[in-house]
């Protein structure tokens, strides 16, 4: 059972979240090539170790978050909002 620290809600059980895929891939711009779009959808690394991934706090605050996780040890290094442009969570407020 992973325990994920939602930036808004604090530490919550994995089963409140759903996995949302690889967060290390960048969505191409509209004028990017067909190959870039193909890679964006289909080409993935499968690292044994540190990995950036999206999770959705589906049974919680509905936030999409980025989780830095070790795919071998499951250690979680950081959890941030899905986009750096979103205001970060501040639970002390």
């Amino acid at each position: 059972m992973l325990r994920i620290e939602c930036p808004w809600c604090g530490i919550r059980n994995e089963d409140e979240f759903s996995y949302g895929g690889d967060a290390s891939v960048q969505r191409p711009t509209d004028d990017a090539s067909q190959d870039d779009w193909y890679d964006y959808v289909y080409t993935r690394n499968n690292p044994a170790g540190r990995h950036s991934e999206y999770w959705h706090h589906a049974n919680g605050c509905r936030a999409w978050i980025k989780v830095e996780r070790d795919t071998v040890s499951h250690e979680i290094f950081s959890v941030t909002p899905a986009s750096p442009n979103l205001p970060s969570g501040n639970r002390e407020d």
């Binding site: 059972m1 191409p28 509209d30 067909q34 289909y42 959705h56 509905r62 999409w64 040890s73 499951h74």
Partner: protein
């Protein structure tokens, strides 16, 4: 004579309370505090069952949850529980148990003939013996194996009891309440830390209850009872008995099973049978003790052969003599305790056989004092006897084994040494390491917030257990953020050294080959390990799977280390080179019911009901599950009405007059903000920037890979206010999809949205008279000019606020009205009332489906995740001049190529025969057996009352250009072939005149 093997006094049983029970139909009595195993032993019953493969008679090996042999079927009827360890079953009045895997009876088992065919059942026999001919598999092999091999049988009735799931947080969790665990709990609890101490036994104290220890000048069990009383009185301590930690998971989450009612005939009213606990401890202290391993000698599986510690546990804890004449076999000092304790209990200990050449002098003196014979440098080579041990054949461990000494006995209490219980440590992700000084595995470096102490760490002296417990308890509390405790460890009498010398396998007398079992539950012998090694399966993980050692319900608790060591001997390497297999949860067998908890039957999933549900129920509607929703499927009107009768009547009533259908389950998402239109424009393939206020539009969403994701209508209610509908199935996924793109890709868009599916009741009013009906209750102008097809707006229906949409799924003139859910039933009733004189009716999802197929609207069965907008004939909606999700990948050449499956209509050419979903569309000229001939399949079917024949929608290769072709629709499972004609998917009103009327 009853309980002829009971000692005259001693043991922690209540001799004042007699308990009667039956085993294999025969009645016995025991005492309160007994296990089924101890009570049977008290009555001289050793034979408990037949073994897995060879059907050999088996008895009681151990006194705990590691038991491989004494597994029985407990209780009867719906509470019957197969493969239950007699050694852990607490005796209760009226207990009924049965032996397993024997036929016709335990004493005479016809299948014991397998014993003679054992060469066929050796290592890897699954892969060798039952290979050919293939036709034998289902008819012979499977049948025979199922009957001959195996354990108990599952109950056939539903479990009448319920199971609970609980969660608890704590700072320090201590697993195991022996001397180390109790010391740790006392130290940790002396701070303010929240402490949980749990133990699988009903009585806390662990080995202090089964051994004759002395702590602080008191008997060990008294010291334990005092420690427990002290802990019980503390507010920050949660003591749990009958609770086994079975899983150590990531992020220091652990799970345990609490056997709340297993010791009772039936659970008390309102109490669960068992409870599953999920704990979130700050620190975990594993004081799980050690498990003794058997010696591997010939016929070491005979009833009457027992672990040395188990033999003295029966004497000390239960007041039972496990035999009358005992031979103790050992390779370490610890088993001498068994000689002394059994002697004290009145068992005639005829010899201690010690494989070491030079046993410790202090022990030799103690035996001499009691006139117990010691044979050093020797061990048991084989046990004699058919259904019970009659004698032990003693061989020397060095030199000649041809001429064994025969010692008559009915009990061989053997100790091959002790294995620390490193299971939970291993489950936590750590790797146990081999320690030569105890010839076993001890915990390695911790990977999580856990530490092992005492016997679980390989420290077998009592004083070490007390010291380590006290230190670890204080340290764990400190690490969890509490002030250090200042508490002194209790002091114990010196027990002397353990001094083990490895003996992995006994020499065999007369150089004869005996069956020497390593894994008794799965019937794996030392010769199987040798054979597997010879055949190349000589790594620990391969060997396990090839021989099935360690894969039975006991998870090889008594057999793992012996097997690895024997494998190491085979490979001529030290044990650490062979390594150790990974332990995985669960540590003990856990009933599926516990994992299910309350989520069974009616509570398996939540049920979503619409506001009109009660009315539907009163009408006798037949419901269908749509996701979590219950939707009315059809409405029988008179006895004997079939589903076909109903949907045909409901469809005709709609198309000829007017009818209502509850469409509440469609997903509804309220979208607001200055960038709402831009947001929709990126989500949908079609254009949204110019949708006027008061208009609805049908839209298609793609996934990023270019396949259609969902469809629905979205209406613009105000300048910056849109109202989206999704399919019932995708209501959740579409919302999550929108959230992801808004939060991760386009956070700059000023838009907010939320699901309002449950806030609004949706009612579709369809049929040529729908306008006439609505005009009676709606306050806005419904003329075609004022409120044309695809109009949307707010309205009032009598006094109910609502939103009206002129959209049509049926293909008829139709409207959809949404009202706040609290008004849902009222709105439905008022519409029925207003339409009464016109003969308004209602319809369910079957008629809804019929009409959508007739109209050629695609739905979930066509939006199967593999179809593009082009495949569905909807490419015309796309605006490829703008950006939208899935745009680029939907333009991949392969998706535009010829040969893709495209949506078509299909008409049955066979009178009175409806088509079938899943039928394959094939060329009638090609023979059925030819491979790769399917050109498509049928996705949705109905009888069409309009066309008066069976019709369908399907996906057909290049279907859009094949209208008019005749094909076969084949359903090979039922050997059915029907002729069909391909046509345009819109069967009725292709120009859309009705909806615009």
């Amino acid at each position: 004579m009853s309980q002829q093997y009971r000692t005259s006094n001693g043991g922690q049983i209540n001799r004042a309370r007699s308990i009667s029970f039956t085993f294999d139909g025969k009645s016995y009595t025991g005492f309160e505090g007994d296990t089924l195993a101890s009570a049977l032993l008290a009555n001289g019953v050793h034979l408990m069952g037949r073994s897995f493969k060879y059907h050999r008679p088996r008895g009681i090996q151990t006194a705990g949850s590691e038991e491989p042999n004494a597994i029985v079927e407990l209780r009867t009827g719906p509470r019957k529980e197969p493969n239950t360890r007699a050694t852990t079953i607490e005796l209760f009045d009226g207990l009924v148990a049965k032996s397993q895997n024997r036929w016709p009876s335990l004493a005479f088992d016809a299948m014991a003939i397998n014993n003679l065919f054992s060469p066929l059942l050796s290592a890897g026999f699954y892969y060798k013996t039952f290979m050919w001919p293939a036709s034998f598999w289902t008819n012979v092999y499977e049948h025979v194996i199922r009957r001959a091999a195996g354990l108990g049988t599952a109950p056939t009735e539903a479990d009448p009891d319920f199971y609970e799931q609980c969660h608890e947080h704590c700072d320090v969790m201590i697993v195991g309440a022996g001397p180390a665990g109790l010391s740790a709990a006392l130290a940790a609890a002396s701070t303010d830390a929240r402490v949980i101490l749990l133990d699988e036994h009903p009585l806390l104290g662990g080995s202090l209850n089964s051994e004759n220890f002395s702590i602080d000048g008191k008997p060990g069990n008294e010291w334990a009872a005092e420690a427990v009383a002290k802990l019980e009185a503390m507010d920050n301590v949660h003591l749990m008995t009958r609770t086994t930690l079975f899983g150590y998971y990531d992020h220091n989450v652990v799970a345990a099973i609490e056997k709340v009612s297993d010791h009772l005939p039936v659970p008390a009213k309102g109490h669960p049978r068992q409870r599953m606990w999920t704990f979130y401890p700050g620190r975990v202290i594993l004081a799980t003790g050690a498990t003794e391993r058997p010696l591997v000698f010939g016929n070491n599986d005979k009833p009457g052969v027992m672990l040395a510690s188990a033999a003295r546990t029966y004497a000390n804890l239960y007041g039972v003599k496990p035999g009358r004449r005992a031979v103790i076999a050992t390779n370490n000092n610890d088993a001498y305790r068994s000689a002394l304790d059994l002697h004290r209990a009145g068992v005639n200990v005829v010899a201690v056989v010690d494989s070491r050449q030079h046993p410790g002098t202090q022990l030799v003196a103690e035996l001499e004092k009691l006139s117990i014979r010691l044979i050093a440098g020797a061990t048991v080579g084989a046990a004699e006897g058919r259904q019970h041990v009659k004698a032990a054949q003693i061989v020397t461990t060095q030199g000649d084994t041809l001429d064994p000494e025969r010692i008559e006995c009915d009990l061989i209490a053997a100790s091959g040494g002790w294995n620390p219980n490193v299971h939970l440590h291993s489950q936590s992700g750590a790797k146990p390491v081999y320690d030569d000084s105890i010839t076993s595995f001890i915990p390695g470096d911790s990977r999580q917030a856990e530490v092992s102490i005492g016997a679980a760490k390989g420290s077998f002296s009592l004083q070490n257990c007390l010291d380590q417990g006290t230190a670890a308890g204080a340290e764990a509390a400190k690490l969890a953020g509490f002030k250090a405790a200042n508490i002194k460890a209790a002091s114990a009498k010196d027990e002397g050294a353990y001094a083990i010398e490895a003996l992995w396998i006994s020499p065999t007398p007369y150089n004869k080959s005996f069956k020497q079992f390593v894994d008794q539950q799965n019937d794996v012998k030392s010769s199987d390990v040798a054979l597997a090694s010879q055949e190349g399966y000589d790594s620990a993980e391969l060997l396990k799977r090839y021989t099935t050692q360690g894969m039975a319900t006991d998870q090889g608790k008594t057999s793992n280390v012996n097997t690895l060591a024997i494998l190491a001997c085979q490979r001529g390497e030290p044990v650490p080179e062979v390594g150790i297999t990974t332990f995985r949860p669960p540590y003990v067998a856990v009933a599926m019911g516990v994992f299910a908890g309350h989520t069974v039957g009616y509570d398996f999933m939540p049920v979503r009901r619409t506001a009109i549900h009660d009315w539907n129920e009163k009408q006798g509607a037949v419901f269908i599950e749509a996701g979590l929703w219950l939707r009315a499927r059809y409405y029988p009107q008179r006895p004997g009405d079939t589903m076909n009768d109903c949907y045909i009547r409901e469809t005709n009533a709609t198309r000829s007059n007017v009818a209502l259908v509850d469409v509440t389950s469609l997903g509804k998402i309220d979208i607001q903000g200055p960038d709402a239109a831009e947001f929709l424009n990126r989500l949908y393939i079609n254009n949204w920037l110019k949708l006027p206020i008061g208009k609805a539009r049908y839209g298609i969403m793609l996934r990023e890979d270019g396949m259609v994701f969902d469809d629905g209508t979205t209406s613009r209610l105000a300048e910056n206010h849109y109202y989206m509908t999704t399919t019932t199935a995708n209501a959740g996924p579409v919302l999550a999809h929108m959230e992801q793109y808004h939060q991760s890709e386009w956070p700059e868009l000023d838009v907010v949205f939320c699901s309002v599916t449950e806030q609004w009741t949706g009612i579709a009013v369809a049929g040529p008279n729908s306008r006439k009906l609505l005009e009676k209750v709606i306050d806005i102008d419904l003329s075609n000019e004022a409120f044309p097809f695809m109009a949307a707006g707010e309205c009032r229906m009598n006094n109910i606020p609502g939103r009206l949409f002129r959209i049509s799924f049926s293909g008829e003139l139709a409207y959809e009205i949404n009202v706040p859910a609290d008004y849902g039933e009222q709105a439905w009733l008022e519409l029925l009332e207003a339409g009464k004189e016109m003969g308004v009716s209602v319809y369910g999802t079957e008629a809804l489906g019929t009409m959508r197929i007739e109209k050629g609207h695609v739905a979930g069965s066509e939006l199967d995740g593999r179809t593009t907008a082009k495949d569905l004939g909807l490419e015309g909606l796309a605006n490829r001049g703008k950006h939208f999700i899935g745009k680029h990948n939907s333009e991949r050449p392969a998706l535009l190529d010829e040969g893709r499956l495209q949506v078509v209509g299909l008409k049955s050419l066979v009178v009175d025969r409806n088509l079938r979903i899943g039928s394959q569309l094939v060329d009638p000229k090609v023979k059925l057996a030819t491979v790769n001939q399917s050109q498509g399949h049928i996705t949705a079917t109905t009888y069409s009352p309009q066309l008066e024949c069976g019709i369908a929608l399907g996906l057909l290769r290049d279907g859009a250009s094949r209208h008019g072709e005749q094909l076969d629709a084949v359903f090979p499972l039922d050997d059915e072939t029907l002729k069909v004609e391909v046509c345009h998917p819109v069967f009725i009103d292709p120009e859309g005149e009705l909806v615009r009327a």
